[in-house]
Symmetry: C2
Subunit: 385 residues, 2 copies
């Protein structure tokens, strides 16, 4: 008897985030800190560009890899940020960071291959590898003296003949870990020596504290390296609902990426691409304000969690999440469901992110201090029961 769907699809686990969020439908007074998105809507200077574009009739298909003006704007933005030239021919616009992840994996992953990934990690990377029939091979980050650390030797030892790529998400969702420039260079050298691809998910590159950007693999690479940089407009410019991102790759894959976009979603929306140009060119002041808010939020959450007797938390250098463990908690999913019912606070269990052990939780702190204080009050009260 045939299975109804592919085995890998039938066996794909249902998202714990969604399970918990579904429990909360209809509950009043919930504080949902489960999704990774800013708490404010897209600013008007960005959406006004989309409005003008719609009114001017920019509602037709665009070139698959994006309108040239947006690819130029991404090239200029990247050049200014890292002080390195990026040929616009290396830029491919995608219909979200997520679709950039799917397309990158489609280039490389098929049954019999694997991708090596430091974890904890956003579950969607595993999701794409599962869909493509590949193996998700996890290498755990370790929390040492409040700091998340990657053991590069352990990472190297996880690579075998079937490894096609190493996937690095830095700044990391959920831990806030940032890979150092030294480690990036060592890893890039390893990948060059082995002919491996490096897929770098840098969507939190600008969500960092005390610096303008996180170290990027772009800063050490040659234009023809087997390197794919994934980025997105969602987090820096509060555009989660828009679905716009980009890839930077070697120029020689331009025609291939044209086809990958065509066969996945054709292209990003026209007026959305135009709004993206405005975000890149005029979004620095907005971004600076948001980072200040997130930094205050991080400091508040870290202060409260690191002084709590039952909680252990690493210092998030980037992104906008607190990833923390609760002593004695052995079932994150059950804990989170109970927390929704009894404390009206929405968190996500660490196992969702392939954390190697139970006891961890993720909280998104891209919220007001008032909301965060109330949520933590409720959580502490719940822990004291």
């Amino acid at each position: 008897m045939l299975r109804e769907l592919r085995r890998t699809i039938e066996e794909m686990p249902i998202s714990q985030i969604r399970e918990i969020a579904n429990d909360a439908i209809g509950l009043e007074d919930m504080i949902p800190l489960w999704f990774g998105e800013p708490d404010i809507a897209t600013p008007d200077f960005i959406y006004n560009t989309a409005i003008e574009a719609m009114k001017a009739g920019h509602t037709f298909y665009t070139p698959n890899r994006g309108i040239p003006e947006l690819r130029d704007a991404i090239s200029s933005y990247t050049k200014q940020l890292y002080n390195i030239p990026i040929d616009p021919d290396r830029v491919t616009v995608t219909a979200s960071g997520m679709s950039g992840i799917m397309i990158s994996n489609q280039l490389l992953v098929e049954p019999g291959t694997n991708v090596v990934c430091p974890v904890p990690l956003w579950p969607n990377i595993r999701g794409t590898i599962d869909i493509l029939g590949g193996e998700f091979r996890a290498v755990p980050l370790r929390l040492i003296n409040k700091s998340w650390e990657l053991d590069l030797d352990q990472l190297f030892q996880s690579v075998d003949q079937q490894t096609r790529a190493i996937f690095i998400n830095s700044p990391n969702n959920p831990t806030g870990w940032i890979m150092s420039s030294d480690q990036q260079q060592a890893l890039l050298k390893f990948c060059r020596d082995r002919g491996l691809w490096l897929i770098a998910d840098e969507v939190y590159a600008r969500i960092v504290y005390g610096m303008r950007h996180a170290p990027s693999f772009l800063e050490h690479s040659d234009p023809e390296d087997r390197l794919i940089i994934i980025n997105s407009f969602s987090k820096p410019w509060a555009m989660t609902g828009w679905r716009l991102g980009w890839l930077i790759t070697p120029k020689r894959f331009g025609k291939t990426l044209e086809m990958m976009n065509e066969f996945n979603f054709a292209g990003a929306a026209t007026f959305t691409q135009m709004a993206g140009i405005t975000a890149l060119r005029h979004g620095e002041a907005f971004l600076t304000d948001q980072i200040k808010r997130y930094e205050d939020a991080r400091d508040l959450v870290y202060e409260r969690f690191s002084t709590h007797p039952k909680i252990t938390m690493g210092w998030p250098e980037g992104a906008f999440y607190a990833f923390f463990s609760v002593a004695g908690m052995t079932n994150g999913l059950a804990f989170c469901r109970k927390l929704v019912q009894e404390a009206r606070v929405g968190l996500v269990p660490g196992t969702t992110f392939a954390a190697p052990e139970e006891g961890w939780l993720r909280l998104c702190f891209a919220n007001s201090l008032e909301t965060l204080n109330t949520a933590i009050d409720r959580l502490e009260e719940h822990l004291d029961k």
Copy 2:
């Protein structure tokens, strides 16, 4: 030595449409009839809803399968159109018809499997099957007395143990063929007997002449049949640049489709979904006007082509393409490139659509009569040389 990318990706042919279109960049006075899109921008009553939504702050993530109000609107629209009930739980919003095609194939296709498809067919169906490592198995339509016909027995004989699905695009791009209700019922019965999936790409369901809609597999199916209907807002409401579509499937795959959306593009854009509600609820008058324009265009093109001594053309019952052959033409790509240079008219060779023989061309007639007359004048002049 490892290949750089997966073999199937490296061997994927570059789109002939893009090759020809790229030739024309910078050429003045071109009449591009290669892409399949209406010649007018999205009407204001639709984009005004998106504008209001942006201003009201609807720029956050939505549920993966779409906002409930849009799923309800799709359910109501379908019910009114076919006079059958469709549970909103069967509806999944996608970020374009294209992403609906990719997701449908991801459910079923992996190396060692095949999908049987009547051709000519939009090349993107083959593209998705290639990416997933499956086999695209073509069964040719035949032109008999100006009418495109599918030999169902031949289709059935193409199915083997490795076949997971039959993919039917009706009304068909590029021929305008519409599968009859009788054939649909016979095919549905065959699929039920064999446990096969039927993927029905019905994006041109409303682009039909002399009837309100083309026959749909929905009209004969049970809610639990292994049937996936793919639809899109692009063609009926001139929304190609928006990226919005939907699937109708058995209800039991709701959670799976939630994950498929999440891992491919997360969801469609928020304000775009809201504009979709307006298109469904208030778009009938606009659609009726467009169909009238397309019908006049079809009649003009058919009249001119069917009286030309070198041209053979079937009668397009639906969609907005003329698919025609030119006597003595043996290399469609070369012909189309020359046509761009010498006549400034943009067509697509039939081989792009897996037409089983050379000599065919596709022209999109979703254009003004004046533009079409000029284009055909130029084409005829070119043929007389």
